[in-house]
Symmetry: D2
């Protein structure tokens, strides 16, 4: 693979790299790690990439890679830049015949997302949007339980994403992550909702297999002199009559990063949270609550395929991330071999998740400004 | 004390009785346990009450008790009937010179609540509304921490009350508790919101010391042929600029009764849930999260006063309930002795909680019907 | 009932009192609360006992009560004095025709215990030894699951009782509880083992239905100038070939009172701890772990009978204690009525638990001094 | 690096591989994955190793690698074979000038361990013994807190390692992991004690900074027709007067793999378990218990250095393993560069841990056979 972004000091770039390396299926062969040539070079050396394949412009990288023989050139590119720099390299990659891994949210705005969808579908290349949390084996199990009807018809979905790291104005004190995330020119029209609310939305739709149809949002700015929401609460309606609540906040002082989902149907419920990522609680009307655990023999093929260790050897965030890379690589490999990928391999988030995520961001911002209670979810 | 309601099969009546007995400060001397004379008699015998002081009408009970010498007659009455039978006996009790303990929600509607407030204030009698959860020592500690400024200015309040026992139509299968709670003629204009939403609301205002000013509600009926909400989600605005979310549901299949609150300020946060009632999580921006525990030496006088056992000897729901009775009795006793009650004794929910609770119910129902997003919280 | 001990400042006396009061089946009618007449009087007034029935000597109390008509005199006596004052009043009570509730450990030494057993068996009176933890509904459920064979043949038992309150020499700083517990003339031949180790031992035998046959103990004294063990670790062998570990400590700095048991058989395991007293974990070879919860419909009649509230309304330490009193009272009442008590009522700890508990203490102390690994458990 | 062992179906081989790959510091360049040439070849292909550098004998591998130019040949070898095949390749590697990573327990018996120590010390090569659990950042924090004196003088250490996977005779049903572990000719003189007891022992000495001086063990065989212990309980004495309990079992039906340690000193205690690996509980005499969390700013440099993600992004078993590889690689790299490695890098388990681990195994087996209570811990 090649990488765009992820220069010195990047958080998510390092995660993408480790996740890609973990299973020995992928090799990093080239990169445009930064638009600053020195920084890109520095990163390239750190990662033992030959200098010839380190660039400061993704255009250059595409040109050079394309010219290489097919068994040498990168098979796909991983794009880990801030939101405003997603669309252009993703478009170019697809148009130049490379599969794409892209960090979320997919684009700067919904318009870009819809364009990218057209391009991606035309390209017949694989496209993976790294909504990390869908990579956890117990999240996959949760979805399978819902699809199998274990909970009956779904009625309620509560999803939350509390963080506290923007409780004070760290963006003014040199925090690079905070800086671009609170800057509308880089982050887009939403702050917390674009950064983490979209994860919560995506998780809710993935686990439930449902789609949001209407929402009612209240977004807030608590940090002084901030321009984008750092907090928001949203009421949800789903396409089967279910309702729910989503909240995402970056000013819950003392909270870390505990995304959590609860889903209830006519016959039972389930609960998962990242803090206890290897456990899925399954609740029933008349039986004891069960603690389903990563690695156990009674799990679905989707959970098992995405696990590396026996029960009680905890896997975490990087492994969840790596599951997307592994599945993506397995799909590319089977394509190369002219084989049909397994359904477990194809279960990674893609272009449709990206479009719906951008529509969520725009709908939430629209609803926040509206006087009326319900705003339709529109793409 | 005397008791009105709590006949055979009553859940909350039995809890009130045990709570009142626990600390040896209170004796049950008379009762109108049921309007059915046989049932009232049966309960009276069970509780070893002399037959002469067992009635089938509360009017009769008040008449007879009033006529007794002051050292024999009951000092206060505990009213544990369904909602539509709260106002009348409470009014009569106050007008006849008895202190009153009343189960929540205070009345059938807000109008009654406001009338009762006038009567109570005129009477100069003590009035306790048994919002159970305010009786937990760690809930009292939470309030004290907020009042002391430990969290800084409050920004977010999340409060939730998930239950699952109305997931199916148990009210049609002989469940007495479900029957009256789903019947608008007994329960009032709300179902889940009146039964448990009002607890969540009350807890949020108590712990935060803030007041709701506007809300946006979505109430739902999932149980077939039900007339009242069995589920609802509410966005909240508070009088200091804080915002929040409240949800209460009785159709979260597999959930028991885990009321939970999280409050975040500029400097920290706290979290309490009934399932782990003897722990209060205190979160800070830069320090480790702390597990504050019932009975510990570092707690406030409010928490300590409401605890009977050393750390690690768990106290529960009945003890929380009993704290209201104990504090109420201590206040009456000090009044009898012409002494000023301690502030820790006076910290039980009263008439103002009742009025605000009824206003919450009416505001939520109003908001649910409204097209516009925000409905003012009005009394 | 009448009470011996429990004067001003007593911890366990207050617990006994509240536990006895909770369910309205028992009335306190007389007491010898302290050998100091003023203190006994003070306590009697606090508890609204007529002065005539308050004594400073239990002999006097027995004399006077015996002379009362049967419908006025106490039916049973509750003895809550330190260990060295257990045997004499218990013996007298039984010989004078009163049922007895006695705090653990049963006596000062094993010899007394064996004598008391003879007396109790001759008396045909009910005898309850308040090993609190056997009163928890989920502990009763644990025993029932083992007896039903849900775990298969038992192989391992781990039981532990960590406390930290004797980490420093609080007995020299006015802590009354610590003072007598660390004094061999009042506590007996063991400290931590007699105070809490015996609870752990009792819990292990009750839940497993097995009996200890050999043990290997290492007792320690960490508190300066202390004469009795404040800590101990014990290896156990049981009569079916199972083995296990018991530890009890009062110098685990920062620990509260979290007695915990784990039992494993050929087919599964279970885990219970007081900190989460309303949950029982049930583990299986091939199925998800289950969270059994107090109040649930799927529990045994033993667990259900000992529960007052629906699931999710936590019951605690006082309720567990109260279950012993309630069952004891129900047995006495059925005896009075010439009826046979239900098996659920008779499930409280008694004279045999007491004898085995004292034998445990003596065996542990003997083993601690021994050079050889295993010491037989002898009565 | 090169790898010895880890052929098709190996559990721990795959973990070593992923752990080594995770941080991009290490490349796998050669391997003797199996003594079966076909299997070794198969694994080599899977891992994209050139056929020339895939062997079926480690001797051959050492020969060929040695002959390569220094910038091509492997710098170190990772040995992941069963216990009876540890000594020979480790010895050869060191003697041929390669650094060594070796899976635990270090050797087949103590004699081999002591020989290997002499060889290692003579070689001046780096040697890492992969006691996984020492790689967790919160385990490192625990050690630092003890070393800083936060707990005061240590008094008690409880360490446990419960597993349930050998509850039935899976070694007879094709479970490869179980087969060699229950075979004395491959595993050595102990079963559970050698496999997991030694991890618990190692963790206890690492966190406490103390050394075991005497022990008293009871080992058991519950699996039918098994020759080695599948369960054992051990009392411990440490060189500062502290005492403790260690248990390790593989027949705790329903348990996964939850190694756990608790340490108490005069001023406080701490608790860590793998199931909640990113939390370290810190207990104090007079203050609330604290939840220390991976990634937090208040942690020591040792915890921080071994963490890849911000708080709330859970790291797990593979990351803990990878920390050893990363630190090992950083040390080798600094040696190559003639620099002094940082103390945080040198904090990986080595030859001394290995010798003490083997001495633990032999002492435990000896104690189990002894009649007398205490057996000295001898090397």
């Amino acid at each position: 693979m090649g990488m765009i972004g992820g220069g010195p000091g990047s958080f998510i770039g390092a995660i993408h790299y480790k996740a890609a390396m973990l299973d020995g299926l992928i090799d990093l062969v080239c990169g445009a790690f930064s638009s600053d040539p020195d920084k890109s070079k520095q990163k390239g050396q750190e990662l033992y990439i030959p200098a010839l394949r380190v660039h400061s412009s993704f255009n250059a990288m595409f040109e050079i890679e394309k010219a290489l023989p097919s068994d040498e050139r990168m098979d796909f590119v991983s794009i880990v830049t801030p939101n405003h720099l997603h669309f252009e390299p993703a478009k170019l990659a697809l148009e130049n015949g490379f599969h794409v891994v892209l960090d979320k949210p997919m684009t700067f705005d919904l318009q870009e997302a819809k364009e990218l969808k057209v391009i991606a579908e035309k390209s017949s290349k694989y496209f993976c949007l790294t909504h990390t949390y869908l990579g956890y084996p117990m999240v996959k199990e949760a979805r399978q339980l819902v699809l199998q009807g274990k909970l009956g018809k779904i009625r309620k979905i509560y999803v939350e994403y509390p963080q506290g790291w923007l409780s004070t104005s760290v963006e003014e004190k040199g925090n690079k992550q905070a800086k671009w995330r609170t800057d509308p020119s880089k982050s887009g029209m939403a702050g917390a909702m674009g950064d983490i609310g979209v994860h919560a939305f995506n998780l809710a739709e993935y686990v439930s297999g449902l789609q949001v149809t209407e929402l009612c949002a209240n977004l807030n700015i608590y940090g002084e002199s901030r321009k984008l929401d750092d907090d928001g609460d949203v009421l949800l309606k789903f396409n089967n009559g279910a309702t729910g609540v989503l909240f995402a906040t970056q000013i819950a002082a003392g909270e870390e990063n505990n995304i959590k989902i609860r889903v209830y149907g006519e016959k039972g419920g389930l609960e998962w949270q990242q803090k206890d990522a290897n456990t899925l609680l399954l609740k029933s009307l008349d039986k004891p609550e069960e603690n389903l655990r990563t690695g156990a023999g009674y799990l679905s093929s989707f959970a098992k395929h995405n696990t590396r260790t026996p029960p009680g050897h905890p896997e975490g965030y990087i492994e969840a991330f790596a599951n997307h890379y592994r599945n993506f690589a397995l799909c590319i490999k089977s394509k190369m071999n002219g084989e049909k990928p397994k359904q477990e391999w194809m279960d990674f988030p893609g272009i449709e998740d990206g479009v719906r995520g951008m529509a969520f961001i725009e709908s939430v911002v629209k609803s926040n400004k509206a006087q009326k209670k319900w705003t339709p979810f529109e793409i």
